[in-house]
Amino acid sequence: MSATDPAPRTAPAHTAPPARPLPGDGHSHRHVLVAIVLNRPGVLNRVSSLMRARNFNIDTLAVSHTDQPEVSRMTLTLHGDDVAVEQAAKQLYRLIDVLKVQDVTSDPTVEHEIALIKVHASDRNRGEVLTIADMYKAKVVDLAAESLIVEATGTEAEVDALIALLRGFGIKELVRSGTVVMSRGTGSIEEAVKR
C-alpha cells in the first residue's frame, strides 16, 4: 500500500443506511439531583471528582448531614439532557458511599436557596433598597453607614431576580448557599436508607 494514499479504497455499494441515533436528545436543561451519602471523610471529594472526571459541570452543590449523623444529603444542580443527567446519577451510584440518588427535577418539590447580599446603601437610597428587599420577602440582617446585608431565600430564579434589581445599587459582596430541595407530600427520599 502506498504511504501517501490513506483513504479507504472501496466505497460501500449499498445506499446509505439509517444513522443510529446517539443517546440523548441534546436538549440541555436544568436538573436537580438529591444524593443521600454516607457521612465519611472524602465523600464530597469522591462526588466532585467523579463529576469532573465524567465531564459534568455542577452548577450548585449543597451538603449537610441529615437527621442521622452518619448520613449526609447533597443537592446538586446541573445542566444537561435527560440521558446525560441520568448517566451522571448512575455514575454516582457506582460510588460505594452513595446510598441513593434521585432526579427530582419534575417532582413537586419545595426548592430554596439562601443568599447574603452586601449592597451599597447610603441615606439617599436606603429606603429604595429596603422596598425592593421587602417585595422579595428578604430581610436586612446587617446595617452600616454605606451598606447593608440583605438575606434572601427563595428559588434560584427568585434570588436571581432580586440580585438583578440590587445590582444597580452596587453589590459589594455576594454569597449563595446553592439550592436545597425537598419533595412535597409524605414520601421521603431518606426513608429508604433509614436503618
Binding site: M1, A3, R20, Q87, K90
Partner: protein, 633 residues
C-alpha cells in the same frame, strides 16, 4: 495439523469431524485439583462465601503481640489470597517483618511496582480470584497506579495495598509521602486510608468483597505505618455491611421477556460477547443460548475465549482490528444481543454508522453502562450468567435449517475474510517472517490450551486474531487502558495462578523494553513464562498509523533494542531466535522444552501492518484492507 494458505484451520469446514482438537475439554484441566481451585475461586467471587479460619499467633507458637501487620496477613489468608506481588519500602517494613511468620502466604518480589500491579491483574484474569499487589509509600505507590488504572478499565478484581507515612506526618510532605488515595480515587472502584490497626480487618473484608462483587474492579488500601505497627485487637468480621453497595444480579423478568420476544422476531441476530461473559462464568449459558436459537457469536477483544473458536457458531472478533466478516455481520444484523460488554469506541467506531439496522438487547451488571455510548432497545441490568439462565427457557428453539440462508452467507463472508490478510507460507513480502504465522504456530504448538497474554499494539491484535482460543480465560489482554509493558508481568501473574497451564507472553519490542526487568523475577521465582517477542525494531502500531493516517511521516517509531538473546541469557533465561518461517517451529519447540522461562526473538517483517483496520472516526463498514503486491514478472 497442517497449516495451509486457507488459514490455520479456521474455516467452518475444519470444525466438523471428531478430530483430537475438538475433544479438548472446555474447562481448564477439568477434574484437576487446579480446576477445582479455580471453580471455587469463581464461586467465591460470585457468591462471596469464603471465610476461611486461620491460625492465630499463639497457635503459630509466637509470643509477640498481634499488630496491624498481622491483621493484614490474616485478612489475606481469610480471603484465599495466598499470592502477594510486592516490593518493600521503609513504611512497609513492619509488614515485611511479620510476613515470614505466615509461610502460607507466597510473596513474590517484583522488580518494579508496575510489574506487581500487572501481575496481580494477570493472576486475577487467569484464575478469577482477587489479585493482590503491595507497594510502599510515595514512588512505590505511584508506580502501581498504571496497573490499577488498567484493572479499572478492564473490570479486574484486585486489591492494591500501599504503605504510607505515620499518620501524624500525613499532609506534612514527609519523606516518600504522597496523597496516594487522592491519586487512586478516580481509577479505583473504592479506596481506603487506614490509620487505626483495629480497622484493618473490616477494611480488608470490605475491600475484597467490593473488588470481586458485581462488576469487579480494583480496590486500594493505604495503610499508615502506625496502623501496621500498632497493636490490633479487632477480630475479623463475618460479613460486610455496605449499605451503598448492593449490585443488582438478577435481570428484571419483564425485560428478559422482552428480550426473548426480540430474539423470536429477529432474522439476522448476532450475539456480542464481552468480558462480562468470562467474569460471570457464563460460557456454558452463552453456548446454550447460541445453539438453542442458532445465533452466531461475535466477541469483543476481552470476550475472546468466551466461546471455543472452533464452535460452528463462533464468529470471531469484532472491532477496529477484528475480522471483516464479523464486522459485516454486525453491520447487517437486525438484532444485537450484547452480553457483558460496554460498546467501547474500538468496537463501535463512529456510533451513527454502527449496526444501522439492529435493535439492541444490552445485558450488563453495571447500570451506568446501559445507554452510555449507544442507545439500546432492551436494557437488562444483571449478572450475565443469571440473566441468561432466566432467558434461555423463554427463547424459542430455532433449527439450523431455519437460519441456513443467514448462516451460510456468514460462512461465505468468513472464508473470504480469513483468506485475505493471512500469510500461510509464513512469509510476508520478500520472504520476511510474518507475525500472523508466528502467533498461529504458537497456538498450534501449545494445543490451544496455553494462557496467551498479549502486550499492547500490533502484537496484541495478531495474538487475538491468530492464536486460536478454545479455553475460557486463555486470552489475556490489556483492552481498556491499552498499557504497553503489560504483557510480561501479566503473564507472570497468570503463570503463578495457573501453574499447570503453559503460559506465553506475546510481546513487541516496544512493550518488552518497558517492563523487561521482570525477567529477573521469572528466574528468581521459577515462573515458567515463555516470551514470544515479535521484534520488528519498530513501535509497530505507531508506525502503522503514521503510514496510513499521517502520510508516512515516521517520527519516533524506529526503535533500537538490545541483543535480546544476550539480554535474556544475562538474566539466566535461555534465548532463541527465528528469522525465517522455517525456523519458527523449531524455536517454539526449543522454548517449550525449557523447564522454566524462555525467550524467543522472532525477527518479523518491519513494515507489516495489522489488517483490516477501521480508521479512527470511521465505522465498521469502512475497513482498510491489505493491498497485495502484484507478483513481479
Amino acid at each position: 495439523m497442517e497449516t495451509t494458505d486457507d488459514g490455520p484451520g479456521r474455516s467452518p469446514a475444519a470444525t466438523t469431524g471428531d478430530s483430537p482438537r475438538s475433544r479438548i475439554n472446555h474447562m481448564p484441566g477439568a477434574g484437576s485439583e487446579r480446576a477445582e481451585a479455580i471453580s471455587a475461586g469463581r464461586h467465591e467471587m460470585l457468591h462471596d462465601t469464603l471465610r476461611k479460619e486461620i491460625k492465630s499467633l499463639a497457635e503459630r507458637g509466637l509470643k509477640r503481640p498481634r499488630i496491624g501487620a498481622d491483621a493484614v496477613c490474616e485478612s489475606l489468608l481469610r480471603q484465599s489470597a495466598e499470592v502477594v506481588l510486592g516490593f518493600p519500602g521503609g513504611v512497609l517494613l513492619p509488614l515485611y517483618d511479620v510476613l515470614g511468620d505466615y509461610p502460607e502466604l507466597r510473596h513474590i518480589l517484583v522488580r518494579h511496582e508496575q510489574g506487581a500491579a500487572h501481575a496481580a491483574d494477570g493472576f486475577a484474569r487467569a484464575t478469577g480470584k482477587v489479585g493482590v499487589c503491595l507497594a510502599t509509600s510515595g514512588p512505590g505507590a505511584t508506580n502501581l497506579v498504571t496497573g490499577i488504572g488498567n484493572a479499572m478499565l478492564d473490570s479486574v478484581p484486585m486489591v492494591a495495598i500501599t504503605g504510607n507515612v505515620v499518620s501524624s506526618l500525613l499532609g506534612k510532605d514527609a519523606f516518600q509521602e504522597i496523597d496516594i488515595t487522592g491519586i487512586t480515587l478516580p481509577c479505583t472502584k473504592h479506596n481506603y486510608l487506614v490509620r487505626d490497626p483495629n480497622e484493618i480487618p473490616r477494611v480488608f473484608a470490605e475491600a475484597f468483597h467490593i473488588a470481586r462483587t458485581g462488576r469487579p474492579g480494583p480496590v486500594h488500601i493505604d495503610l499508615t505505618k502506625d496502623a501496621l505497627m500498632g497493636v490490633c485487637t479487632a477480630g475479623h468480621p463475618d460479613k460486610v455491611d455496605l449499605p451503598g453497595f448492593k449490585p443488582n444480579l438478577d435481570g428484571h423478568p419483564r425485560q428478559i421477556k422482552f428480550a426473548a420476544q426480540e430474539i423470536a422476531k429477529a432474522q439476522r441476530p448476532v450475539i456480542l460477547a464481552g468480558h462480562g461473559v468470562l467474569i460471570s462464568d457464563a460460557m456454558d449459558e452463552l453456548k446454550e443460548l447460541a445453539e438453542k436459537a442458532q445465533i452466531p457469536v461475535a466477541h469483543t477483544l476481552l470476550g475472546v475465549s468466551a466461546m471455543d473458536e472452533t464452535h460452528p457458531l463462533s464468529l470471531g472478533w469484532v472491532g477496529m482490528h477484528g475480522w471483516k466478516h464479523v464486522n459485516k455481520a454486525i453491520q447487517s444484523a437486525d438484532l444485537l444481543i450484547a452480553l457483558g460488554m460496554r460498546f467501547d469506541d474500538r468496537v463501535t467506531g463512529h456510533v451513527p454508522t454502527f449496526a444501522p439496522y439492529a435493535r439492541i438487547i444490552h445485558v450488563d451488571i453495571d447500570p451506568a453502562e446501559i445507554g452510555k455510548n449507544v442507545a439500546v432497545e432492551v436494557p437488562i441490568v444483571g449478572d450475565v450468567k443469571r440473566v441468561l439462565r432466566a432467558l434461555i427457557p423463554l427463547v424459542e428453539p430455532v433449527s439450523r435449517e431455519t437460519r441456513a440462508a443467514y448462516l451460510d452467507e456468514l460462512a461465505e463472508w468468513r472464508i473470504e475474510s480469513e483468506k485475505t490478510p493471512w500469510h500461510g507460507s509464513g512469509a510476508w513480502r520478500n520472504g520476511q517472517l510474518s507475525a500472523d504465522f508466528v502467533v498461529s504456530r504458537i497456538g498450534e504448538a501449545s494445543n490451544h490450551d496455553a494462557t496467551i497474554v498479549a502486550d499492547v499494539g500490533q502484537n496484541q491484535m495478531w495474538a487475538a486474531r491468530y492464536a486460536g482460543f478454545r479455553r475460557p480465560n486463555s486470552h489475556i489482554s490489556s483492552g481498556g487502558l491499552g498499557t504497553m509493558g503489560y504483557g510480561l508481568p501479566a503473564a507472570m501473574g497468570a503463570a503463578v495462578g495457573l501453574p499447570d497451564k503453559e503460559t506465553w507472553a506475546i510481546v513487541g519490542d516496544g512493550g518488552l523494553q518497558m517492563t523487561s526487568q521482570e525477567m529477573m523475577t521469572l528466574v528468581q521465582d521459577h515462573i515458567p513464562v515463555k516470551i514470544a517477542l515479535l521484534n520488528n525494531h519498530k513501535l509497530g502500531m505507531i508506525r502503522q498509523w503514521q503510514e496510513l493516517v499521517y502520510a508516512g511521516n515516521y517520527h519516533s517509531s524506529n526503535l533500537l533494542g538490545p541483543d535480546w538473546c544476550k539480554l535474556a541469557e544475562a538474566y539466566g533465561i535461555p534465548g532463541f531466535q527465528a528469522t525465517t518461517p522455517a525456523e519458527v517451529d523449531e524455536a517454539i519447540a526449543s522454548a517449550r522444552a525449557v523447564d522454566g522461562p524462555a525467550l524467543i526473538e522472532f525477527v518479523i517483517a518491519a513494515e507489516q501492518n495489522v489488517y483490516p483496520m477501521m480508521p479512527a472516526g470511521k465505522g465498521l463498514s469502512d475497513l482498510l484492507e491489505e493491498q497485495f503486491e502484484e507478483p513481479k514478472q
